[in-house]
């Protein structure tokens, strides 16, 4: 598997290959093409950061620029999904959820349940999330815990180009509404990606590093920060296992428990705000189901309970970094190797 492409290209390729394979797949969102219907250049934008660039010329009838009304076009996509289409609806920034929450919370997420399984809603909501791009408080949030809280939605946060392609294809083929979250700081990340179609199943965490001493559980961009911390800690003879959740709903509880039962120590790393978060959720899971295995208190490394700051210096402080993860690990690590 020698070919390397970026996270952004992997998403673009998954969309193109699935649209070629299945006529019912279409893309709708703001500026997903850019310029549609106007006398100017078509495909001028290809999404606000160019992720869907090049798709409009190949599929002019299936890449639809939407008006600036999430409640309108997200609702349209939900309806289309119930009628046999497979819409990939781009919310641009996940922060815009507030403009269309009912369409997802009360409609898409509930249909299968309320209609007794007689209807499915094969909808994908693609959205950028996460801090680091100096995009301020309204364009930098995580909100993973909000989505994860809602039964009926699946929540996917790929950390690598390989997972981005395979999990987006899985999301498109899935018969339930899937919230597909793309970390904007990962778009340029390069990685090996097969040219062929493949799917990465939901609910299977990935052991991205094996270790004996401490389990680091995380997802999304923080996988890379956790790996950086693990590499630094290895030099101090602390061997960390790093678990990438891949999806927060469904959640691979078994892999989390399996790892903590081995190491007896847990640090959960979550870029989102700390209250009612993935970090607290996993801490509760482990406290409840693997308490006897724990040999130290559970540590959480998260953003603070504040909006994402616009100041560069403050935003850098806000985002969990390797130093914070290392400090948390050192607090609970076995000092057996200390001189």
């Amino acid at each position: 598997m020698a070919r390397k492409i970026s996270y952004q290209q992997a998403i673009n390729e998954a969309l193109a290959q699935e649209m070629r394979r299945d006529q019912s797949v279409f893309i709708i969102g703001q500026d997903v093409s850019g310029g549609t219907g106007s006398p100017g250049e078509q495909d001028a934008w290809g999404g606000v950061l160019g992720v869907t660039k090049g798709l409009y010329p190949e599929f002019p009838e299936r890449v639809l620029d939407a008006p600036l009304s999430e409640v309108g076009y997200v609702g349209m996509a939900v309806g289309a999904a119930t009628r046999g289409m497979r819409p990939v609806c781009e919310l641009m920034f996940v922060d815009f959820i507030g403009c269309c929450l009912d369409q997802l919370l009360n409609q898409a997420a509930k249909f299968r349940y309320m209609f007794g399984g007689k209807t499915t809603t094969p909808l994908v909501i693609r959205a950028m999330y996460g801090a680091g791009l100096r995009a301020a408080a309204q364009h930098s949030q995580m909100l993973t815990s909000m989505w994860t809280h809602i039964p009926g939605l699946k929540v996917v946060c790929p950390a690598t180009p390989y997972d981005a392609k395979g999990m987006l294809i899985q999301a498109i083929r899935d018969n339930d509404p899937v919230i597909f979250l793309e970390h904007k700081m990962l778009y340029s990340l390069q990685g090996e990606v097969p040219e062929e179609l493949y799917t990465v199943p939901f609910g299977e965490a990935n052991f991205v590093r094996e270790g004996r001493d401490v389990t680091l559980v995380t997802y999304g961009r923080m996988v890379h920060i956790a790996l950086e911390a693990a590499a630094n800690l290895a030099r101090q003879d602390i061997d960390c296992e790093v678990l990438d959740l891949r999806t927060t709903s469904p959640l691979d509880e078994d892999s989390i428990l399996e790892s903590v039962e081995k190491t007896g120590r847990l640090v959960v790393i979550d870029e989102s705000n700390p209250r009612c978060s993935i970090a607290t959720d996993i801490s509760a899971l482990v406290a409840q189901r693997a308490f006897a295995a724990l040999r130290a208190p559970i540590e959480m490394v998260t953003a603070p309970h504040t909006p994402v700051p616009f100041s560069d210096a403050l935003e850098d402080l806000y985002i969990p970094d390797a130093a914070k993860i290392e400090a948390a690990v050192l607090k609970i690590a076995d000092k057996r190797n200390a001189a």
Binding site: M1, A2, Y162, G166, E192, P194, E196, L197, Y198, T199, V200, P201, E204, N206, F207, E210, D254
Partner: protein
């Protein structure tokens, strides 16, 4: 003569390795082909063999240290050399290596793809000269199954390893799923590469494929090396084949893969993840089920080509503890038969050094 011993590159994706343990100490004599140290990668661990004989004079990498491919591990001196001369070689190497470090990932051999008979085939072509050798992997494998063999064998001749149809990065769609379809793909690649006569080596199902090539085109096969080969008897571990075909997650796959090795610790999470990456590709599931059904339905091998053995000089290698295809299939073959005690099905990976020596000596004679 001062030789530098460097971090090897095993397979296409290795970029670094961790020193596990030095098997030789400074001052020890090492013979060409002898294991000097053990190195572990995220995929597999194995011994680094000395490419030359001499005395190990310097050890420059510590146990547990992780170093990039090509990094200096030690210095072996053939004959005499002063410490100052050795220091100069080390200094020169390190100065040159810094500038090459960034290229380590892109350097090294890379596989090629060609369309043969309407289907993409991937192959890795190493070495030059001599009568070429073609390596054919087994069921569910790919050309990386030869990662410890191909470079060593390529020191003396051109060696080509391919991905069979349905496997690796070759096209996944099979027509009949018969052995003849796979052997025709091998012959198609030989035609494309304009190779008239070759040595063939096959592992497991790849042995059956090699035997089928030898049956279809005997004039093109100079010799056969059959490693834990299918096609030589009825027995095969049907539970493994079914379990492997069915497994779609780490926990289901692990108990299957450990049956392939004598040392279960070799089955790392990375190995499992890499195998899952292959199994997730569109078309793989169907190809594996098709081959399993056509060639090994119900745990009995359907194709027996024992009669082909002996028409060409043949080397048969088996691990005595093979849990997939029993070593007693080697009995009574008109061939040089080598049973390696304590070894499992992936004997060419686990006992690479022994297999390489046997193959090099055998190929030299034919």
């Amino acid at each position: 003569m001062i030789h530098t011993l460097t971090m090897p590159k095993w397979g296409l994706s290795m970029t670094e390795g961790r020193i596990d343990i030095w098997l030789k100490q400074p001052g020890d004599r090492v013979e060409k082909g002898e294991a000097v140290l053990d190195v572990e990668t995220d995929k597999i661990s194995s011994s680094v063999e000395a490419p030359f004989s001499g005395v190990l004079r310097r050890v420059l990498a510590l146990s547990d240290e992780t170093l990039p491919v090509g990094a200096l591990l030690g210095v072996v001196v053939e004959g005499e050399a002063s410490d100052a001369e050795i220091d100069a070689v080390i200094e020169g190497f390190q100065a040159g290596f810094v500038s090459n470090a960034a290229e380590a990932e892109t350097a090294g051999p890379s596989a090629q793809k060609v369309e043969v008979g309407g289907r993409l085939l991937r192959y890795l072509d190493l070495g030059e000269g001599g009568t070429p050798l073609v390596l054919v992997h087994g069921f569910g494998g790919d050309l990386n199954n030869w990662l410890f063999n191909q470079p060593a064998l390529a020191a003396e001749r051109r060696v080509i390893a391919l991905d069979l149809p349905g496997h690796g990065e070759s096209g996944k769609t099979l027509r009949s799923g018969e052995a003849a379809e796979l052997s025709e793909a091998v012959l198609g690649l030989l035609d494309h590469l304009q190779l008239d006569r070759v040595h063939l080596a096959g592992h497991s199902m790849g042995g059956l494929v090699a035997l089928t090539v030898a049956e279809q085109a005997p004039a093109r096969v100079v010799s056969l090396t059959l490693i834990a080969s299918a096609g030589l008897g009825a027995d095969i571990n049907g539970d493994y084949l079914q379990g492997f075909a069915d497994a779609n997650n780490r926990n289901a796959l692990k108990p299957q893969l450990v049956q392939l090795f004598s040392d279960p610790a070799l089955v790392t999470r990375q190995m499992l993840e890499d195998m899952l990456k292959f199994k997730r590709l569109e078309g793989v599931d169907q190809a594996l089920r098709q081959l399993n059904g056509v060639l090994f339905d119900g745990g009995r091998q359907k194709v027996d080509v024992r009669h082909v053995v002996g028409r060409q000089p043949s080397l048969v290698i088996w691990g005595s503890d093979d849990a997939i295809i029993p070593a007693n299939h080697a009995q009574g073959l008109e061939a040089q038969v080598e049973i390696l005690p304590g070894q499992g099905h992936m004997v060419q990976l686990e006992a690479a050094e022994q297999v390489n020596q046997l193959m090099l000596a055998f190929l030299k004679r034919h």
